[in-house]
């Protein structure tokens, strides 16, 4: 296994690069996971403004309304002094002033008159407060009509407002995405970046000077040398892949392994690994110096990842870009990843889409391997 060991020794010389890519990958995955989770799901909260209230009633219902608004906004109780109220609004000490009249129940609830409000013109948050007040009063009125006492109606409305918010998206999925979605989204960058560099450096070393001639003239057949080289290449890839799954285990533990779709995640990433290995090998065949390698490795890994929805979600990408991205393997990886992230089990329809995505990636890998063979043969005969 002389050639195999040599691959490993050359890799050892460039191990720093692999570690750097792993560090970038894990940092990005963790940060993005955290940021995305925070903004999209768990921390939904309604907008809060400074709201002035003049409560001339002081009754149960009026106090209930004030308490309700205090739960959402920063409520400031004010005296009914028009000059002072105008001044506070002018200086934006408050954005909205609600005046509850002395006979609130009679005036507003029974006779249906509107509450007097003063607000910053054109402010969308004021409109929002209007909606909240209107909604609150309507609900109270419903409860009262149903025979609830004022206290119980207020209590019932209070309990309703604590229902959690469920976000719906336009693509028929729910916000209930797997927590490891983001982790798997960035894996192509790790594979492409790290493998393009390592394979490039290794193949470049074997191309230097007359090394190839010396090896061809040796007592080990070229076929065996190639097999050992491929074994080493495969080994490097598999170790990287395993590190990826160690990361999943470390970050998400049994949540990932007990999910019904972990097999598809494994299959999808392994296919992506084959694509990355064959592509990096193909690139390595044309690389002649480390500057060129650095440029090409960055271009291939970053460009493919940006175009195919690794760094930017596909939902927000331009359709023409996505059309072009279909000619790149990472797009199909991300397609499969998207499907897996939105489901807990796969219906036959989605399973079909997953398998098509994986199949197309394999076709890309086959195309790269064919190119490798053609170039090798051409060079040998040339």
């Amino acid at each position: 296994m002389t050639v195999f060991k040599c691959y490993m020794k050359i890799l050892r010389q460039n191990i720093g690069l692999v570690i750097m890519y792993l560090a970038i990958f894990f940092s990005v995955a963790i940060v993005m996971q955290f940021a995305a989770g925070k903004s999209e799901d768990s921390l939904f909260e309604t907008a809060s403004i400074d709201l002035g209230v003049v409560n001339e009633d002081g009754g149960t219902l009026a106090q209930g309304l004030v308490d309700y608004l205090s739960g959402i906004h920063h409520v400031v109780l004010m005296d009914n002094d028009p000059e002072q109220l105008q001044e506070n609004l002018f200086y934006r000490n408050v954005e909205y002033i609600l005046q509850i009249p002395a006979d609130f129940y009679e005036t507003c609830m029974v006779n249906g008159e509107s509450l007097k409000v003063t607000k910053v013109p054109g402010s969308y948050s004021s409109f929002y407060v209007d909606q909240q007040i209107s909604s609150y009063l309507n609900t109270i009125q419903t409860y009262l009509a149903a025979g609830f006492s004022q206290e119980k109606a207020i209590q019932a409305v209070k309990e309703e407002t604590h229902e959690p918010v469920t976000k719906l998206t336009f693509d028929s999925g729910t916000s209930d995405t797997s927590p490891y979605t983001y982790y798997f989204r960035y894996i192509p960058y790790l594979f492409l970046g790290a493998l393009c560099y390592t394979m490039g450096y290794i193949l470049m070393a074997f191309k230097k000077g007359d090394i190839q001639k010396r090896m061809e003239a040796s007592a080990i057949s070229v076929r065996r040398q190639s097999v050992e080289g491929l074994l080493a290449t495969g080994m490097i890839g598999v170790v990287l892949w395993l590190i990826g799954f160690l990361g999943v285990t470390f970050m998400y533990g049994s949540r990932f392994w007990q999910s019904g779709l972990c097999v598809y995640y494994i299959l999808n990433t392994f296919t992506m690994l084959i694509v990355a290995l064959s592509l990096s090998y193909l690139i390595g065949m044309f690389i002649t110096n480390s500057n060129l390698l650095s440029g090409v490795a960055n271009l291939v890994s970053l460009a493919m990842c940006f175009l195919c929805g690794v760094f930017v979600p596909m939902d927000v990408m331009d359709k023409s870009v996505l059309k072009f991205a279909q000619f790149l393997p990472v797009y199909w990886y991300e397609q499969v990843n998207e499907i897996l992230s939105r489901h807990h089990t796969l219906s036959p329809e989605f399973l079909g889409q997953v398998l098509i995505g994986i199949g197309i990636q394999l076709l890309f890998a086959a195309a790269f391997i064919s190119l490798i063979l053609v170039v090798s043969r051409y060079r040998k005969e040339g």
């Binding site: 460039n14 230097k208 000077g209 007359d210 003239a217 070229v222």
Partner: protein, 313 residues
């Protein structure tokens, strides 16, 4: 006479319209240091590449150790070591690792290989550099490492293609001494070069190549006997007249002369006393002269006489 371990018959190699090897014939006996001498582009490297099955040839036959040389004849390849023109070592591996790697392409047994690598390191004088990477070695040391990588598995036949290109004189001498030592240890060596001094210094038999075929071959002495020049005399003289030059031309054994920038070069056949005769003539004509030198024929003279051009043209 020892057995011929390399036999090349009517080898033809074409690159399109260019004939790189034109019916090349060679026989190399076991135990020789066989020099393949010729100007750049004469076909030496092509011949070596064909011998090693690195190049396909159009016609002819190559037999090494009595067997047809084919790309898959690993039994033959096992017994060949190569030192190529361009240094072929990994920058990422240390001196020891490089020798171990290339030796490993012939010797799978780790224990046996370790002993051989150690021997090669000592042979090449690289003991102090074993843990260094090639980028930190001087040009001479790098060439020595290149040689150590090619000979560590103790091959029966070593093919060296211009191993001293761009090497300083001190390192070159060490390399040449090493080659002689390898030969004494039993290896047959094929040595290609366009440095005639090196070939003269170490080779027991020489073939001179030009335009893809051998134009002369034999031992140094045999080659020199093939030509008319036995001695080349060079004299720095005060201006000579046409009459003087005509008279010198008529002196016994003189067959060619050249006079330029007050330097007279006279080529004589192999007879003795040529220099004395010439000096006597100059004295008799009261011609003052400065530096005088007399040189026996070189391989360059052989090449010059056979082809009409200098070896380094």
């Amino acid at each position: 006479m020892s057995e011929n371990i390399v036999q090349i018959e009517n080898l033809v190699k074409r690159y399109g319209d260019l004939v790189a090897l034109d019916h090349l014939n060679l026989k190399i006996a076991e135990g020789e240091i066989f020099g393949l001498l010729g100007p750049n582009g004469s076909g030496k490297t092509t011949a070596i590449n064909c011998m090693l099955s690195l190049l396909k040839y159009d016609k002819g036959a190559i037999r090494i150790f009595g067997e047809d040389m084919r790309p898959d004849n690993y039994k033959v390849k096992q017994q060949i070591g190569i030192v190529l023109q361009n240094v072929a070592v990994f920058d990422e591996l240390t001196v020891y690792e490089n020798i171990d790697y290339f030796c490993g392409l012939y010797i799978p047994d780790k224990k046996k290989r370790k002993a051989l690598v150690e021997e090669a390191i000592t042979f090449a004088g690289l003991d102090d550099y074993r843990k260094m990477h090639p980028k930190k070695l001087s040009g001479g040391l790098l060439r020595r490492l290149n040689i150590a990588c090619g000979i560590a598995h103790k091959p029966r036949l070593i093919i060296m293609d211009e191993p001293t290109v761009a090497v300083d004189p001190q390192s070159r001498n060490k390399i040449l001494e090493g080659i002689k030592k390898l030969n004494e240890q039993g290896s047959t060596i094929i040595y290609t070069s366009h440095y005639m001094e090196e070939v003269e210094q170490i080779c027991t038999r020489i073939a001179i190549m030009d335009h893809g075929h051998v134009i002369a071959s034999g031992t140094r002495e045999e080659l020199k006997k093939m030509i008319k020049t036995g001695e080349t005399i060079t004299i720095e003289a005060i201006p000579l007249t046409e009459k003087n030059l005509e008279e010198i031309q008529t002196l016994p054994h003189v067959f060619d002369l050249h006079y330029e920038d007050q330097v007279l070069t006279v080529r004589c056949t192999g007879a003795r006393h040529n220099l004395i005769q010439l000096l006597n003539y100059l004295q008799s004509q009261d011609i003052t002269f400065g530096q005088v030198s007399s040189e026996l024929p070189t391989l360059n003279d052989v090449f010059l006489e056979i082809t009409g051009k200098q070896l380094r043209d």
